[in-house]
Symmetry: C2
Subunit: 475 residues, 2 copies
Amino acid sequence: MCQGDDPNCRDFETHRLDFRTGLAKERRAFLKSGFAASGGAAALATAGISLVPPALAQASAARAAGGPRLHSLPANAETVHWGYFSKSLAPRLEVNSGDYVTIETLTHHANDDAERMVQGDPGAESVFLWTKDKKGVMRRGAGPGDGGGLGVHICTGPVAVRGAEPGDVLEVRILDVAPRPSANPAFKGLAFGSNAAANWGFHYKDLLTGDKPREVVTIYELDATGSRNWASAVYNFRWVPVTDPTGKVHPTIDYPGLPVDHGRTERRFGVLKNIRVPIRPHFGTMGLAPKEAEVVNSIPPSYTGGNIDNWRIGKGATMYYPVAVPGALLSVGDPHASQGDSELCGTAIECSLTGTFQVVLHKKADLGGTPLDGLDFPMIETAEDWVMSGFSYPNYLAELGPDAQNAIFAKSSIDLAMRDAFRKMRGFLMGEKGLTEDEAISLMSVAVDFGITQVVDGNWGVHAIIKKNVFAGQA
Amino acid sequence: MCQGDDPNCRDFETHRLDFRTGLAKERRAFLKSGFAASGGAAALATAGISLVPPALAQASAARAAGGPRLHSLPANAETVHWGYFSKSLAPRLEVNSGDYVTIETLTHHANDDAERMVQGDPGAESVFLWTKDKKGVMRRGAGPGDGGGLGVHICTGPVAVRGAEPGDVLEVRILDVAPRPSANPAFKGLAFGSNAAANWGFHYKDLLTGDKPREVVTIYELDATGSRNWASAVYNFRWVPVTDPTGKVHPTIDYPGLPVDHGRTERRFGVLKNIRVPIRPHFGTMGLAPKEAEVVNSIPPSYTGGNIDNWRIGKGATMYYPVAVPGALLSVGDPHASQGDSELCGTAIECSLTGTFQVVLHKKADLGGTPLDGLDFPMIETAEDWVMSGFSYPNYLAELGPDAQNAIFAKSSIDLAMRDAFRKMRGFLMGEKGLTEDEAISLMSVAVDFGITQVVDGNWGVHAIIKKNVFAGQA
């Protein structure tokens, strides 16, 4: 179905108008929402301990033109890019520093159960549209032509921030996150997600039982109204070869968004019976366009963020990203209902979410002497912690040469990511907290927790967490 | 000073009598303590969700002879072994299943500041005694002669459990943990610990500033009365060559318990100013004697526990160990006031502690069909979580051949430890929770957190944590 995104559709102009009207409606709805009405936005700007000192907050606010505005960016074939970041993408939205934006995100695994996650949802239908003749989003991945599946995440955006330039820091506050309800009336009040134990999982060559190797997809259900804080499994199925609309057969999950035909799968209902998975809604992939390459595979995370896959990037968290290209170009995707540290089998509970964000631009000229000066990695701040994201290669695009986008997948290592997390935390404690190296190293050994973020994204991740209250006595 | 542990002392018999009387006094004090008087022991046996099903609890209780008794094991030169585990050590105490025992433990870093951590403390003085002619504990480490420092932890015990045989499981409940107050009146009400950024630390060959490499010791202080939940730094000093009482010079920390002469160090007071390290009192080293070798270096952890260095092994936690030798032979040491996941610089806040434990023996014949059947690694249970301890090599003594105790230090790897933690958690979910492999793998990806336990003990560690409430719906 054309969502105003298919120029070949004979009703393209009408559909395009509908799409734009719909966008405006959603925006009005947001403006009327409780959050906006309560003045929550203004209150949030000053709550809690932040890496932004008062003087910087004032300087950044003074640069903003007028009061903050509220925007909305729905997810559809016109507003997403699939499987890659690119500094050359035209912005889908332009905002000022200080503005708020509600961004819909779609999981690239929705077609694992289209009945529950696509059908009746115009945005999702437009993105997953794929017939012999039409494809809602032609390119999926950073490869040539159809993208080759070299990158898998549906990213909404990019959002350009007016005035952002390389060397600046973009602060992105995650004010709210909510699951996207199933649009199928049969599943009213529920939202769904998919967990694929896939060929890129840590477990894949290390199976104990049954056919080896195999890929297994588990569909999870969660309450869309917020009355339950856990998800439960609905059924699982063994991946069977999927023939895509072009006639190509996919014996494994080697291209994103393949339409699974449940007439051909064997679904086992009642799996993980009575097991409750605590939900941790968050965005697996969020970040800015890097400058090093024209089109960048969305899978390996790097210095401008991207697919960090840390479940702490949820409601209440704030991200700080180094801006690498004009406009910053923020994109959000890979929404997760829950994930454990390591994302062991290759995916989380991949579940469409809608987030509300505030973006604040901090200009390079104002950063001197602040904790954000020289920031060269994506920093996570939660209410209680500062979290450094270490990777096997902190900027693999720059480090691994022209073949970096292939090479990174052969160089995955927790040991290297641990080394990077150690160095980033040391830098934070010395640079931002003013400790000597000897003080920083002692503190890291007795008060910093290192965890395994993910072992499935090529550029593997280790995070280092320090509690803010360690410094409470300095106030 | 002879503590009744030096047969060459001319007053040996008198000192020995004093020691035994002291032991009896401490035991009486414990019996009169609030914990014993309140019947806390009986109450604890049934609290919370446990890996022990009611039928096994009853079977194990029925095997216990009479009601539980209370024991006390102080730490002194007669009750500790230093730097090694051994199946051939004579038990320092024998207990029945169900008995309670208060065990004092001493940090092997106390001599980094003897004024604060040794002086006036008869137990510590007896252990650290080292003159040209006398050494309170001759062997420190698993090497020949003086032990060579091949192993560093002062371990109190072993405690033999009557009736324990290979194939059984020993449950060790940590009921209470308290810091050992400084015995020096100048530091009344305080306890102290030492953090050594040492040559075996992850940071050692990766320093940014100053002289490279260097070792730096930071002395921390904590409240001994329990009114503060944080520790703070007192001073640090750069390690300077220490000449031991035999005349041997130690340019680095290459032997445990070296007497630091602060007439020769340069102490920097006021470091880590106003920084509060949350305390997490726990035992870095606790476990049973392995069967594979006569004398085993205390540094690498293995299947019977030992130097796991996980801060979750504190008050309220329960350990389950596979019994490898008759009597089980439990030893406890390496007490820590706090540690971060990774123990980055080589040590925690090494701080003498006293713990109160209950030991419960589960006989192999009763284990069939229970979660403890076939347990072949040290399992950690806390009030909220089950924690699997993965190692680079799960049983390095058996896996790495006759030279295992050297080889393990060349094979440290987080990647391998992650593999082991994955397999152990899978085994737990399939064996103990009855899941299929596909269910277990999905659950591990969405609800299990993998963290880096330590990267400094030769056999590196990764832990996998699952929350008990994931299964709450199954009740």
